[in-house]
Subunit: 513 residues, 2 copies
């Protein structure tokens, strides 16, 4: 019998018609049977007369498969396979655990330490290889990346391949308010005809990420568009979602990010705000494997009076976690309280030297946000925007992947290692009164360890009155920037002052006696 | 005829009864006539049988005065005086100008560059003298200070004098919900009997501040109380307000801060939230000179879900400007838009090394907040919290005044001078998209100059796309920390990139060609 390792890709390939438009003329589903439960999964056309159904089995044992289709040669086809136990290093997909944290399906802890390389899959083979190499050399375990190509500052070249048959046309700034679609005269691509090779390539790279232990946070729609992919209309949005989910949902490291800056897409006339409920529900319905789902903002509500600039309603059931753009990272505890979902600050300013505020942070600032966010119970995402000159041709990590030129990634690696070495499967934020100017303090799940991060706070005579009344701790003083750790001469409790050197970016690792 | 310089103190002294309780038994008012308008002003008992009415005349010319009282010897007394033009250096009281800024009554620009020394008037004569000397050596032109003594960390000693007759008792944590007053058995002071010398001393020091050009931002109530002055109840609150306003309102440099951390007073059971409307209206009614009025928060609303932690309704007509505690200084433009009143961030973290988050900022951080706030159209207030050891006896500026040990005040002086030298009578914030991570950019009223502050943003290849389309600027590069300014080799416009060194705390002073 065929076998398929738990949480890996089972694939059932069938030959079918090549005439007409196989992407729209043919419907194909397969129902997967295991004991007393069934899952119905959409198939897809992969070109060259081949139709496929993919599935990520989660239960060990014998599965049977039966297809149904509007085409007789694809209808009532059957298969069976044995799902074998996950092998070493295969922990399954990441899911929400403990309301506000994550774990792999097998229970292994997972703390996202993400990075961002939006259009890495559309660069030269050398740059793509370099991106994978850079990921291998660092401890990032999630990457934010686009499915559609990107047109934005520093990334305006045409991609080598398009997702659809056709050719670019100048795209207008409006859409039809009923269909959400651009005007007929602006349509250069046939949104009913996918180019399978485009998606095969993405699959290969998502798989390559999985081999490195990196989750692929796939952005389904985004506003950086000069081809019309952001204005395909409701009907073709649905077709697109069905296609990419049928193709990708069996890959265990996939996360669905409905959109980057969904509110910017409304602002620039690409897609109305009401689109996202339809898109979110479609993703939820189409995905048989219940991958993580988020929607990412452009506007940062605290700074706007205008309630139309509030976030999307993050309490919707199809949103598994918050994917936030902000550097108001002191608000993480408030959001945890408000939403009771994991908080991932996916854009908190990138280390770099470009002209945009989102991309001119120092390495220190990027590192600082990781400590402040993670020790308050959230998760942070890295990005790097270094250029060597204006209008550079050198790949920029945030857009193209390639190499990292910065300094923050080393400190982020160090921080992740520090957490792992000290039993922080996740971080329990320790309440400190107040907000922005307060220390970020996180405790390990077993309560034996705590990390007190001082950042740019420079108390010289310090008192940690939020510690337990009866607890005494030994301590190690960490210079997070220089990545040194040394025994601290004083014991720490919640009553006695201790002396700290006055410098930036220090932390104390406390161990309960 | 008696004369009184415009905006200085006219005082009419009368002898009256010493028997009974002159503070409550005797009512005294005087009506001031000038041409066709009249102002009725409350008098006060100053001890030793002396009753006084004070007034700050604003109109040049002849004034006449007639008293009315429930005591015959104080009733129907008359006086007259000539109000003479203000002399050099006398610009009158500060008032709101242009909706969101300030100016002296004679139109001279005033930008508050404040500092904080809450209990400086209750320290040794040497420390008080030192405080005035420190103010003289720096460019601060406003000081936040308490009328009642203070009991809080680092400031727990009894004051040399009390405002009332009596002696301290241990004060309970509750008040009567109808009268807002502490329980009879906890009352150690007679809130109907003021000690005039206590208030005479404050007057002398307010006058000393005026001589230095420093506005006295007088905090009428505050929660750092171990005597019951925070729980005197509605009746004695009113008596207190009548007394201090009668005494101080004629001093041109007085501002009324209804409370420090009014919401903390509610939280700790000193005064209910509804008290402040009564107090605010009382101040407005009692003050014949319409001094500035504010109310200062403890909670910072963006970080709380709980709407009971929102600010006091700052749209109330008796609030002339916002006095805010926050270091979310990126919100200044939002608040300007929302309230259309001046925004003074009176507590944005002090430079210091103590154990509290509000008092462990670096000098760089304190300076940085001044640039970020002022260039966004608001105003900032300094404070310093350096100690030499735990439980120090050395005066701490924020609490006691004395000396400054820090480094930020020099940079704040430099910034104020920079604004004055370049025609910034006030700052017009230049809109830049976004918030916290954006540059702070302010333009001079005549549009000829602009200051672009980079702070910790480190763009290396920068483009200022928010400048006017047709404008070209020459520039000077300022190192705000090292207080150097030098010609910048490139001209600046809104289309061309220019190169910046990568370091913290830089600014560009732009001059329109």
């Amino acid at each position: 019998m065929k076998t398929c390792e738990q949480w890996k890709v089972y694939e059932f390939t069938l030959n079918g018609p090549t005439s007409g438009n196989p992407f729209t003329d043919v419907t194909l589903f397969a129902t997967f049977f295991f004991n007393n439960h069934t899952t119905r999964v959409r198939g897809f056309y992969d070109g060259n007369g081949q139709y496929k159904v993919r599935f990520m089995p989660e239960e060990i044992g014998k599965w049977t498969v039966t297809t149904d289709s509007n085409v007789s040669e694809l209808n009532h086809q059957t298969d069976e396979f044995e799902c074998t136990p996950a092998e070493k290093g295969n922990h399954g997909p990441v899911r929400v655990a403990g309301q506000t944290h994550f774990a792999y399906a097998d229970g292994t802890p997972y703390m996202p330490f993400g990075t961002t390389a939006y259009a890495w899959c559309f660069q030269s083979p050398e740059t793509q290889q370099q991106t994978l190499q850079t990921l291998k050399e660092n401890k990032f375990n999630k990457i934010r990346m686009l499915i559609f190509p990107k047109s934005y500052s520093y990334n305006t070249a045409q991609p080598k391949m398009y997702p659809y048959e056709g050719a670019p046309k100048k795209v207008s700034d409006t859409f039809d308010s009923t269909t959400w679609m651009l005007k007929p005269e602006d349509i250069g691509f046939d949104f009913s005809k996918f180019i399978p090779e485009y998606f095969q390539h993405l699959e290969k790279q998502i798989q390559a990420l999985d081999n490195l232990g990196v989750e692929a946070d796939l952005i389904l729609f985004h506003p950086y568009d000069s081809w019309g992919f952001a204005r395909m209309g409701k009907k073709f949005d649905q077709l697109y979602l069905q296609y990419v989910i049928a193709r990708f949902a069996s890959l265990k490291n996939v996360w669905w990010a409905l959109s980057n800056e969904y509110d910017l897409m409304a602002l620039v006339g690409q897609k109305p705000l009401e689109a996202w409920d339809f898109i979110g529900k479609t993703v939820q319905r189409e995905d048989p494997s219940a991958h993580l789902v988020s929607i990412h903002n452009f506007y940062d509500p605290p700074q706007h009076k205008d309630t139309t600039k509030n976030w999307y309603d993050q309490t919707k059931p199809w949103i598994t976690h918050l994917s936030i753009q902000t550097d108001n990272v002191f608000l993480v505890p408030k959001w945890l309280d408000e939403y009771d979902k994991p908080i991932v600050v996916d854009e908190c300013r990138y280390e770099g030297n470009i002209e945009f505020g989102f991309g001119d942070n120092t390495a220190e600032g990027m590192m600082d946000n990781f400590y402040r966010i993670v020790l308050r119970g959230g998760y942070a995402t890295h990005g790097e925007t270094y250029i060597d000159k204006p209008n550079t041709k050198r790949p920029i990590w945030w857009a193209h992947g390639g190499k990292l030129y910065g300094e923050s990634q080393k400190r982020i690696n160090y921080f992740k290692q520090l957490l792992e070495d000290n039993g922080f499967n996740y971080v329990i934020p320790m309440a400190t009164e107040g907000g922005h100017w307060e220390l970020a303090v996180g405790e390990s799940p077993n309560g034996q360890k705590a990390i007190v991060y001082f950042g740019e706070n420079q108390p010289e005579f310090e008192l940690l009155d939020f510690l337990d009344d009866d607890a005494t701790y030994t301590a190690q003083l960490i210079d997070t920037w220089n990545m040194t750790i040394k025994d601290f001469p004083e014991e720490i409790n919640n009553k006695d002052y201790f002396h700290l050197p006055r410098k930036n970016y220090q932390a104390l690792l406390l161990t309960r006696k």
